[in-house]
């Protein structure tokens, strides 16, 4: 045996002996909100880095690379082209091989668009959703669709104010058009298309490597919808609108924990009872902070396992969606003094995981 392999074998055994001292499950530590927030930002930053890297890889010729982010634009930002529209206007500045776009208030009117999320629902055949990054305080909502050939469609919805967009316009022309009745810009460069439009609240960017007409059709005819509240029930957690007030959650049949009390608790009890029989089902629990921002938990029993997903992107201490998507073996409601605790159990963890507490 080579010395190297010999060492590896011995080191591996040493490692196992040392790890044996950690065999007991350490106490579950409740991390501080600031720690959780910083960790979520760290993970989100890594996701954003990957998205930027991934986009660069796709368009490795750098012929058309569009990204949205917070730009520290100075007050001496010169408006080269401006197209006024009601509450906001698009301001462009041409630079060295690029065009920077931001949105400024016209000083007229008031925003009419409500706080809703758009989504692509009729993507071309063969495309499937492969990524979703939600950063409501920053670059907004990215949804990524891919097909087996590696072709991508990226849809980005972002708050228009405070965001800057930089388009690589070297060797290409930024075309003024209309999209969905809104002012828009279209850029086509070496087979890649970027379509940018805005209303009085959001800017929207559709980036594809589809042909021009297909890209325009995707935006105009096929895909974008406002999600009416009546369709919110049972929607995937990531498609719920930013604004999800308690009265809407109660209408949708969610289990609601708010300052006004606990609603539809019987649905949770029914779900837990069904889980003991491995009956497939689902329940959504929405906790509200005093400012009515929502923490949303989805539980689903499927194929004998319980899947738990949490979206805390609406809580002010969290800027990024943190969907856990973890799998558990069983669930129970444990009485602890004056509280009842919804608890998940997994054979992989010695300690149970608490989902939510209810006052009796």
């Amino acid at each position: 045996m080579e010395a190297e392999d010999f060492f590896k074998e011995s080191v591996a055994r040493l490692r196992d002996r040392q790890l044996a001292s950690y065999s007991k499950q350490p106490p579950i530590h409740i991390f501080s909100p600031s720690f959780e927030k910083e960790m979520q930002e760290l993970i989100a930053k890594q996701r954003m880095t990957e998205l930027g890297t991934s986009a660069k890889n796709i368009w490795r010729q750098a012929a058309c690379f569009a990204f949205a982010g917070l730009l520290g634009l100075s007050l001496c930002f010169v408006s080269v082209g401006a197209w006024s529209r009601d509450f906001l206007r698009m301001v462009e500045q041409e630079g060295d091989g690029k065009t920077d776009i931001r949105f400024a208030r016209t000083g007229e009117g008031t925003p009419q668009t409500s706080d809703v999320q758009y989504t692509l629902t009729d993507v071309p055949q063969g495309y499937r959703r492969t990524g979703h990054i939600n950063s409501p305080g920053g670059a907004g909502d990215y949804i990524i669709y891919e097909n087996d050939a590696g072709k991508r469609i990226i849809f980005n919805q972002m708050p228009a104010e405070g965001v800057g967009i930089s388009l690589n316009t070297e060797g290409a022309e930024l075309e003024q058009i209309e999209c969905r009745g809104h002012p828009a810009r279209f850029l086509e460069n070496e087979g890649m298309c970027s379509l940018l439009w805005y209303d009085d609240r959001y800017a929207y960017m559709l980036t594809t490597d589809l042909p021009r007409n297909d890209t325009l059709a995707l935006a105009e005819k096929i895909t974008l919808k406002v999600l009416p509240y009546s369709t919110l029930q049972k929607l995937p957690i990531e498609l719920l609108p930013r604004d999800y007030p308690p009265e809407i959650a109660r209408e949708n049949g969610d289990v609601v924990i708010s300052a006004d009390g606990v609603f539809h608790f019987e649905q949770l009890e029914a779900f837990v009872a069904g889980c003991t029989k491995k009956q497939e089902g689902a329940v959504r629990i929405v906790h509200y902070a005093p400012d009515n921002s929502a923490l949303i938990d989805d539980l689903q029993m499927k194929d004998g396992h319980i899947y738990y997903t949490r979206d805390q992107s609406r809580w002010e201490q969290s800027e990024v969606s943190f969907e856990e998507g973890e799998e558990y073996d069983s669930i129970g409601i444990v009485t602890n003094g004056e509280e009842q605790v919804l608890t998940l159990y997994s054979r992989h963890y010695d300690a149970p995981v608490e989902v939510v507490r209810f006052q009796n």
Binding site: A12, R13, R15, Q18, Y22, M39, Q46
Partner: protein, 181 residues
């Protein structure tokens, strides 16, 4: 904890790995950090610094829930916690690389000929902890000396010395047939 099906592993991004590491090991890492620091905020700082340090080397982590990765995370947070502990107490960290009298000779042939790996393992347990950690990062996790230096927050030259001296001390133990204090 089943994190991903086997067929999905190759598609795990680094952010997904980071998230999985965080969910799997955060409590253990806090436990290790707190056992050294005995202060909750500082222990949380140590855990966070550990994840920041891990990000730079996350591509080498192929499996989240395995002994190598678990030990790796423990080593990183332990190292950071010890540095925080010493800096809080305003004492200089004792560097084994600077203490005179350590053997500097290169690994001897006795190691190559030694067949009783259990004995070798027991000798390894007697090494200073910093040497053991360097050995595990090198031979269990497969990191280079440059990577080990970055992970432990030391100069690359010191990382090389730790590995050399670890092997040299093991050779001496084997030759002498006894441990050293």
């Amino acid at each position: 904890m089943k994190r991903m099906a086997a067929g999905e592993k190759q598609r795990q991004t680094q952010s997904e790995k980071l998230e999985a590491l965080y969910k799997t090991y955060r409590h253990l890492m806090f436990y290790v950090a707190y056992s050294i620091l005995h202060d909750i905020p500082t222990a949380e700082d140590a855990v966070q610094q550990a994840f920041v340090r891990v990000i730079s080397h996350i591509e080498k982590i192929s499996e989240i829930d395995c002994p190598q990765t678990k030990n790796f995370m423990v080593i990183i947070v332990k190292n950071i916690s010890l540095n925080l502990y010493h800096s809080r107490r305003k004492k200089e960290t004792v560097s084994f690389d600077e203490v005179e009298g350590w053997m500097l000779s290169s690994p001897r042939d006795e190691i190559q000929e030694w067949e009783d790996s259990q004995q070798l393992e027991s000798f390894m347990e007697r090494l200073p902890e910093s040497y053991r950690d360097a050995l595990m990062l090198r031979y269990d996790n497969g990191y280079s000396t440059a990577e080990i230096a970055a992970l432990l927050g030391i100069q690359e030259e010191n990382a090389k010395k730790r590995l050399q001296r670890a092997r040299a001390k093991l050779a001496d133990m084997i030759a002498e047939g006894e441990g050293v204090d």
